[in-house]
């Protein structure tokens, strides 16, 4: 049993990358669920997107043998950049209007 575990740890393969991405995804979801600061929520979203990208690349490398997963990962990065820009613009606007960026205090559509 111990031998098997050591052997498993010595051969990083698809499952190892998938588990890293699973942990990263869970940490991102934790940040989204618990943090009050809207920018921290954005950081959680970035962690989740990175976890998804690791999955795309791992499957592209180990199960398909083509580069389709890498191209999809590029589109994910493009959308992440667009999302970060828009979301930060919205957060700045909220800060100007409410003087806070805590997501649980922003509960009015208008002043």
């Amino acid at each position: 049993m111990a031998q098997e575990i050591i052997q498993l740890l010595r051969t990083p393969g698809l499952n190892h990358f998938l588990i890293i991405s699973g942990i990263l995804f869970s940490l991102g979801v934790f940040a989204i669920l618990t943090r009050r600061n809207a920018i921290m929520v954005l950081m959680g979203i970035e962690l989740v997107l990175n976890a998804a990208n690791i999955n795309f690349l791992a499957f592209s490398r180990y199960t398909s043998g083509t580069l389709d997963g890498q191209v999809i990962a590029i589109f994910v990065i493009i959308l992440a950049a667009a999302e970060a820009a828009i979301a930060l613009a919205i957060v700045l606007n909220i800060y100007q209007n409410f003087n806070t960026v805590n997501v649980d205090e922003i509960n009015k559509l208008k002043d």
Binding site: L33, Y62, I74, A85, A89, L92
Partner: protein, 168 residues
């Protein structure tokens, strides 16, 4: 092959530990800087997955672009002068339960599934020419749509973030 294992665990450790710091740290500036190391670790994992172009793209766009944007957001929305950088957390206990269940389910599913493995070639091949070719052949339409999305996001972000000018 031994070096590969060492580097894999090094990057895995950097990624997971700094992501945990991002999530747990109370100081939002510490979180932003820990996010830098997370992105570096993920770029290293991309290299180990033989995605050289993606690794460089990750460094350029995430570290050079998105992280700078996030730090700008931190600077503009936190009262730097009053050293009020602390951010609090809410609903910690239910979130821990939900996230633990989520992580357990994901990892159990990853272990128990018998993925269809293709014979992975050990030799490294340059991916940039192939990705460029695919972007201009089979992925041409998504590529063009992505360019329009970026333009719209650019205009939209500038439009949303600018201050309202008083009508004179």
């Amino acid at each position: 092959m031994d070096l590969y294992i060492i580097v894999f665990y090094l990057f895995a450790l950097i990624t997971i530990v700094s992501a945990a710091v991002v999530v747990i740290s109370k100081n939002i500036v510490y979180s932003a800087f820990a996010l830098l190391f997370t992105f570096f670790g993920v770029a290293g994992l991309y290299v180990l997955l033989m995605a050289d172009f993606l690794a460089i793209t990750q460094l350029l766009i995430y570290v050079g672009g998105i992280l700078v944007l996030i730090i700008f957001g931190v600077m503009l929305t936190t009262r730097v002068i009053q050293v009020d950088m602390r951010t609090s957390a809410i609903q910690t206990v239910p979130a821990v339960i939900i996230v633990a269940a989520l992580a357990g389910t994901l990892i159990g599913m990853f272990w128990s599934t018998d993925w269809p493995m293709a014979p992975a070639s050990q030799a490294f091949e340059k991916t940039t020419p192939k990705i460029g070719e695919m972007l201009l052949t089979s992925y041409l339409l998504p590529f063009e749509i992505a360019s329009v999305v970026l333009l719209v996001a650019l205009v939209g972000a500038a439009m949303i973030a600018r201050r309202e000018r008083k009508a004179s």
